[in-house]
């Protein structure tokens, strides 16, 4: 899960001349490396590349026609030719066939990705708001009991594997108390408003876990940046002007503390998305996590490759969006 557990995220490597265009070029380079990795892995890893490309089911489904399948996929051609073929296929939407879902990989991904985003995007926003309020409060009253209580509680939630917390919540609130469903995203049958309410009811527990997961990271960042901002001259000035504590905190301090949160959210987008995958498995939520879990069980390699690719693209996009947004939030960088 956590690629970066550091409480204080590493500063981005920033060239002085880094403009949006050069950042975009960087992301394109990253995309190129990711795509190439995806191409090379099944061909260089141990085992028959054919099996690595079509998955176990596909391999055995082909029966005696393995050689035909091999040449159909171009595996007897030199690597550069295969690479060209692979890129063309990727661009034209031919991502292979999933024998697990009995449909093209692209369709299986499209079906599951939206459920994951429906879970992750609201969680990120709620987590940021929650962390801004709690982190701001802890920093404002640093050293107090409130601060110590909040920080310690935060650290405990942060340390526990969040999919394990998901199991705990499901055990207490669904198995024992029966307040929430046992899993999945809908009970089926309903449409319109009842459908949305039903989905919301199914969504609440996974949403809580992912929000808590993300908020524990945000809390530390907000708290640390607010503590350092509180020492700035303009905060002293604002206090000297006689502004109320709330006004100083919300209008002067939090505003400046939130800009780093956007960058951090982008950097950690991959981590939160990955974290959500594991939570989905616990709740049998029909998103990318459950898809990946099932694909691992069935050794459906095309599906796993496409999942890696699409999640990586989502992360790159999130980073690019954050780069566009950042100057709007922090006037100093305009």
């Amino acid at each position: 899960m956590a690629a970066e557990t550091s409480a204080v995220p590493a500063q981005r490597h920033e060239h002085p001349s880094a403009t949006l265009a050069s950042r975009a070029a960087r992301y394109l380079a990253a995309l190129f490396i990711i795509v190439s990795l995806n191409f090379l892995l099944p061909r260089l890893m141990p085992g028959d590349p054919l099996m690595n490309l079509v998955g176990e089911e596909g391999y055995y489904a082909a029966g005696g026609a393995l050689d035909e399948l091999r040449s159909e996929l171009g595996l007897d051609e030199p690597l550069p030719v295969q690479y060209g073929r692979y890129l063309r296929g990727l661009l034209s939407g031919d991502w292979g066939y999933s024998y697990l879902y009995l449909r093209p990989v692209r369709d299986a991904i499209a079906l599951h990705l939206r459920w994951t985003l429906a879970l992750v995007l609201p969680s990120i926003i709620i987590a940021a708001l929650l962390a801004a309020v709690l982190g701001g409060l802890a920093a404002w009253r640093r050293g107090s009991r409130t601060d110590i209580g909040l920080s310690a509680g935060n650290l405990l939630v942060y340390a526990m594997p969040h999919y394990w917390l998901a199991m705990l919540l499901l055990f207490v609130f669904s198995f024992r108390l029966g307040w929430f469903p046992l899993g999945r995203a809908t009970s089926g049958g309903a449409t319109d408003l009842p459908y949305l309410l039903d989905v919301g009811w199914h969504m609440l527990l996974p949403l809580v876990v992912i929000t808590a997961f993300k908020a524990t990271y945000d809390f530390l960042i907000v708290r640390n940046s607010v503590v350092s901002i509180l020492g700035e001259d303009y905060v002293l000035m604002a206090q000297a002007k006689g502004l109320s504590a709330a006004s100083v905190l919300f209008r002067h301090v939090l505003r400046n503390a939130l800009a780093p949160l956007v960058t951090v959210t982008a950097i950690q987008f991959g981590m939160v998305l990955s974290g959500a995958l594991l939570v989905e498995v616990v709740f049998s939520w029909p998103g990318m996590g459950t898809l990946i879990y099932d694909a691992i069980g069935a050794r459906d390699y095309p599906l796993l490759q496409a999942a890696f690719l699409i999640i990586a693209v989502c992360v790159l996009l999130a980073n690019f969006i954050a780069d566009v947004l950042y100057p709007l939030l922090d006037p100093r960088t305009r």
């Binding site: 690629a3 892995l41 890893m45 594997p161 199991m167 509180l230 991959g270 594991l278 990946i292 990586a312």
Partner: protein
């Protein structure tokens, strides 16, 4: 204020170190502490009793013995991959910071790319191809977790290089090797230590996630593997909480302990943070 903060944080770091040391000790003494052979078969699905404090699993193995033995697997994967990742990161960071120029740009470009690639899906893909095996996991995690160390080491090297005393030493004819030993390493070491502690935590969590998804080594059962079996073989659905709660709690407590330790090291070594806390 200054003094109490300092003492309090050192206490916190010490508590973390003691907690983690307890887990390491338990792992080291696993054969003595485990009440039964972790591979021995008893009756399946036994409830907790004096004979089996945490009951038995679906094939009749004593869960407490598995838990104690699992500490060895989880901790060693974390420590080995942490050591591998941090050594690699230090190497890249020192090279980039010292050589600068083309090599620096190339290495930092690579660091940026690896940082932005979502780790879990990549690690899943590679593990699926490589097949289960503890060393596979160590290798993969080592290759994923080096960039943040490289970044920190590089920026520290750059700032040390630009400081007045290094300029002075250089003017007196000091070579790269001497500067590295005398000035750079002592400055970088506490940060590297903090990074190592955090990387071990990250690696332990990642190993647990991988194993939870069913990609662990069935012959060396880690805490993550126990979670996997409890989840996939009915322990969870049947509310056998003594099966799946303890391994998750152990993982969490280790991460908790390591995080406390890293806070302590970071605060001691980062004067900016110390000042911010003293205010």
């Amino acid at each position: 204020m200054q003094l109490t903060e300092h003492v309090r944080h050192n206490h916190v770091a010490l508590a973390g170190a003691v907690l983690f040391a307890a887990f390491v000790l338990a792992a080291a003494l696993a054969p003595l502490l485990a009440p039964h052979d972790p591979w021995a078969h008893f009756k399946p699905f036994l409830l907790p009793s004096t004979m089996h404090l945490l009951g038995t699993d679906d094939v009749g193995r004593d869960i407490l013995s598995e838990l104690v033995t699992g500490a060895r697997v989880s901790l060693s994967v974390g420590l080995f991959s942490g050591a591998l990742a941090v050594s690699f990161g230090v190497l890249v960071g020192l090279l980039a910071g010292f050589r600068r120029g083309r090599l620096d740009e190339l290495l930092m470009g690579l660091t940026d790319v690896v940082l932005v690639i979502p780790a879990l899906p990549l690690v899943i893909l590679v593990s699926v191809y490589l097949g289960p095996g503890l060393w596979h996991t160590v290798l993969i995690l080592g290759l994923v977790f080096w960039p943040s160390t490289a970044r920190v080491v590089r920026s520290q090297v750059l700032s040390v290089r630009q400081s007045g005393y290094v300029e002075a030493a250089r003017a007196l004819g000091a070579g790269d090797g001497w500067l590295m030993r005398r000035h750079v390493l002592p400055n970088v070491l506490p940060l590297v230590l903090a990074k190592f502690v955090l990387t071990v935590a990250a690696a332990m969590l990642m190993e647990a996630s991988l194993s939870f998804l069913g990609l662990g080594d069935p012959l060396a059962k880690s805490w993550g593997m126990m979670l996997h079996y409890a989840f996939a073989r009915g322990g969870f659905i049947n509310e056998l909480w003594w099966w799946y709660l303890p391994p998750g709690l152990c993982i969490g407590l280790c991460i908790f302990a390591l995080t406390l330790v890293s806070f302590g090291i970071e605060e001691r070594s980062d004067p900016r943070l110390r000042r911010a806390l003293d205010r």
